[in-house]
Symmetry: C2
Subunit: 122 residues, 2 copies
DNA sequence: GGAAGTACGTACATTTTGGTAAGTATTCCG
DNA sequence: CGGAATACTTACCAAAATGTACGTACTTCC
């Protein structure tokens, strides 16, 4: 890997710059499960197992990992009720909702345009 | 992996359904290099090597693979001039431009909100 | 009583993604 | 003349993503 100069402090965020933190954040939001979690969580609160069922084919392990990543980025809020059996609620933060709107927008567009896209595919 | 029933023909596209083709298309658009290619190519035509430089740290191999994927999805147009040394131009199709607008929107939002996001990160 | 559900963590296996190096035919530049 | 640039491809290897299986400490339902 070529070594890129770190962006000078105070420079504008730019996803096209290899070392810009915005690139990593974008990757979290657009990661395989990250994007789907945002879509699934848009406008509602779900507990862990509901979320797993909503996504359909995600494994426990990946869902937990993805949620922790999004929580670390401040996109997802985790509320654990201290009971047995466990009960944990996941919802979007303020920022997470903003992101979710855009991701949903992309997902909606894909769904809407799917016939045309499939028609163009080679 | 659990086996999911294929979506009944005629059902609405739904990215949350594991077997829906829209999910794969979304993944192509949001893949690590796919999203960045759309951003880089938005509103302009670039040749292979310019694109590589625009992304900064992508390898020849991945860039070629990503471009072929996006071309197969009908997002990218490839125009090869038959000369030596090779000269190939890449640009977005009609559909690709629509996608790029949304991906750019997400990227722009991340760049704009980056300070807040970094401030929230744990 | 026995089975299933809950929200994970951990160890291990597999799959996917990504990088590196080399090769190509030719032109341009110093 | 020697070296760099061009747009890939292929073979090979490393790293990252993802899945599977198991364990947990209880509760609820049949």
């Amino acid at each position: 890997m070529k070594d890129f100069p770190a962006p000078p402090p105070g420079s504008c965020p730019d996803v096209l710059h290899p070392r810009c933190p915005s690139r990593q954040v974008l990757q979290h939001l657009t990661s395989r499960w990250g994007a789907l979690v945002l879509v699934a969580l848009a406008g509602r609160t779900l507990r862990f197992s509901d979320l797993r069922r909503a996504l359909g084919d995600v494994s426990d392990r990946m869902l937990a990992q993805t949620l922790q990543g999004l929580e670390a980025d401040g996109m997802v809020r985790r509320v654990a009720h201290d009971v047995v059996p466990p009960h944990v609620d996941y919802s979007l933060t303020e920022i997470g909702q903003e992101a979710a709107v855009l991701v949903r927008g992309l997902a909606d567009w894909v769904e809407r345009r799917l016939p045309d896209i499939l028609g163009c595919q080679r």
